[in-house]
Symmetry: C2
Subunit: 386 residues, 2 copies
């Protein structure tokens, strides 16, 4: 067994934790939010913009990079960090989620998933071994075991079948990972210190989640992720399932809730002991003109903002809020200017990362619970008409 990824919890406040995740490309303070850099770029912003808003780690999608430009090419150019020019920590997902959400005409077998590329229709197979090899070539600091992600709602029988398959795939992913690791950096692994996380599945069924956790712990990973949530289930149910599952995860390993979520989800889930998050919401919604503020989202295209000279959020210290009015942002959005996507993305990412900073501060001060209460009272998911 290789040495586990270095992670230490530096402070707790209730179930909320402050921690430090050390990777070959630097440390990350947790709880952390990872901006999504699908194809090796966080859409509409540059890496220096990301550093400017305080991003410490980014996520890249194995599915996208596997199809274009290809993991072999990236490995031949020295791996993902060097290829994309981001020298900080990177996590790659397993490709599983995109295979199910983007891949065409897929067939799932015990071996893996056969699917067609959403780009050119070519047929590909991703199996636990293949997904592990692809990620080993990409060389991110954290790789994910290959999993099947169930939709919502799903019958319990189907959720069990899928959870069990994910368990067997996790074991194969881990075996292949350790094999590659054994070959060292000269082999098929671009980043000799890559870590690997397992993914807990089981839908919204607590007993299935518990079984899945047990299986993952038995296999043993550097960290544990909760997958298959935020796929359409009610928010309360998601919080419940994620919370119960988190309680079963070991305290000394990082816990990552995949694809979540809304700003209030982050606060609630840190309150249940989650350390890491990723989500396309801040970036995707930015491009669609939905901007986050402390009281809730704003749809910037609204006529009410046509001559609104105020910044998006008067308390926000991001570049966008420090320099531009709602009226200008609305104009750029309606004129379909690319710069609208950039300014909006900068703001939304700043909002997410600042929320994480505020969460961390509250944990540090031992005031997380009152922060959480305050956030619930102040923040609404409903589009604001202010």
């Amino acid at each position: 067994m290789p040495e586990l990824l270095d992670f230490c919890v530096t402070r707790t406040d209730g179930r909320a934790r402050l921690g430090r995740l050390s990777t070959p490309h630097g440390a990350v303070q947790t709880p952390a939010f990872m901006p999504v850099g699908t194809s090796g770029a966080v859409k509409a912003v540059t890496h220096r913009d990301l550093l400017g808003v305080g991003a410490e780690i980014i996520l890249a999608n194995t599915y996208h990079l596997f199809l274009r430009p290809g993991d072999q090419l990236i490995a031949s150019l020295g791996g993902l960090h060097r290829f994309v020019g981001w020298s900080g920590p990177i996590l790659t997902d397993s490709g599983g989620y995109q295979v199910f959400s983007l891949g065409g005409r897929r067939t799932v077998s015990e071996d893996g998933v056969c699917f067609r590329s959403h780009i050119d229709g070519t047929e590909h197979l991703l199996s636990p071994e293949r997904a592990t090899e692809v990620q080993a070539r990409l060389g991110a600091d954290i790789a994910m075991a290959f999993d099947e992600c169930t939709p919502y709602p799903v019958e319990k029988d189907e959720a069990r079948r899928s959870m069990e398959l994910t368990g067997r795939w996790a074991r194969r992913s881990r075996d292949r990972f350790l094999e590659l690791k054994g070959q060292g950096e000269g082999g098929a692994m671009t980043n000799g210190q890559q870590a690997q996380f397992g993914i807990v599945q089981g839908g919204v069924y607590p007993d299935l989640r518990a079984e899945s956790v047990a299986e993952m712990l038995e296999i043993g990973f550097d960290g544990y992720a909760i997958g298959g949530l935020s796929v359409g289930e009610p928010t309360g149910l998601m919080h419940e399932v994620a919370g119960e599952t988190t309680d079963r995860l070991p305290a000394d390993r990082p816990r990552y809730l995949m694809g979540v979520g809304m700003p209030d989800d982050l606060v609630e889930m840190v309150g249940c002991g989650i350390d890491m998050f990723d989500c396309v919401l801040p970036t995707r919604n930015a491009r669609n003109g939905q901007l986050f503020t402390r009281t809730g989202p704003i749809n910037i295209k609204g006529a009410r903002y046509a001559s609104d000279e105020r910044p998006l959020d008067s308390e926000c210290t991001c570049y966008t809020c420090q320099h531009f009015s709602r009226a200008y942002l609305r104009h750029l959005y309606l004129a379909r200017e690319i710069t609208a996507s950039t300014l909006n993305t900068l703001h939304n990412l700043h909002f997410y990362l600042d929320t994480m900073r505020r969460i961390g501060e509250a944990i540090m001060l031992g005031t997380f619970e009152s922060f959480r209460q305050g956030f619930r009272q102040t923040y609404s998911r409903r589009p604001q008409s202010v």
Copy 2:
């Protein structure tokens, strides 16, 4: 007559000039290249990016801003500088060029041009008075007289008719401008120190250009622009006409060659005494994957760049060249990532502005002619296969 815009030539080298243009929003070193910020944003970059590549003045399109969000709205929000959040110098064009290139079903009369918006088909009139009023409301530091831009080729009779119309329109533009100026900043003029340039037309006919220059000088403007070039005529002819026309313009006033051009055009035209340029080439071509280097343009989508680890231009000090490989830029372009447009635009603008800096340096050192010769030998317009 208001005081003329402050402009002084600080050094000459042959016909090439180094100068300083003082505006209410700061000084501009000339020769200057103005990035085009069509709707109040230079496409795909932020203002801080622009400052980073050394832009000192930007151009905004009157036609676009008139249609959306409207000059009245912008005036009510304090004018263009405040609305777009750019505190440096801004020049607005007259709207004439876009009316002819973008406006639908237009009818030209002595009064002005009736046209349909390319956005929603609504009918609008731009006349010399109207274009002057719109620009006065926008409040840029430099406004342009309303002109008719002839295509190429055009018969001499038609070129004469159009040039004479532009002359009458220039007089009406100037009259209205001085009238508004007389009313002061409390009136319809957002920027009380706005200057106005006249535009010389006359197609590729030297005698018509000479007549147009005489007319503009008689009217008297703060500066003089050469319009109606780079509309399809051969490069040599363009250089010839622009050069001859420039020789007729007064030495103590800024000379602006509109819509030009390729990097080698900039060098040649500074050599003829031009002080100011604008062009969409660096920004538009960036979005289409054409990137400028010292030896010529590169089409980044080329398969030859798939695994090319080199920067676009090894001598370039821009953010893009300092951090990213051709392979990555090609990947981002093919993946249609917005960030591709941003990184490419940053590079192309840096290339243009750096070319202007190198030109200025050569004039300062009295070595412009050898710089020009060197540029001709090194730079080719043909896409490079390096």
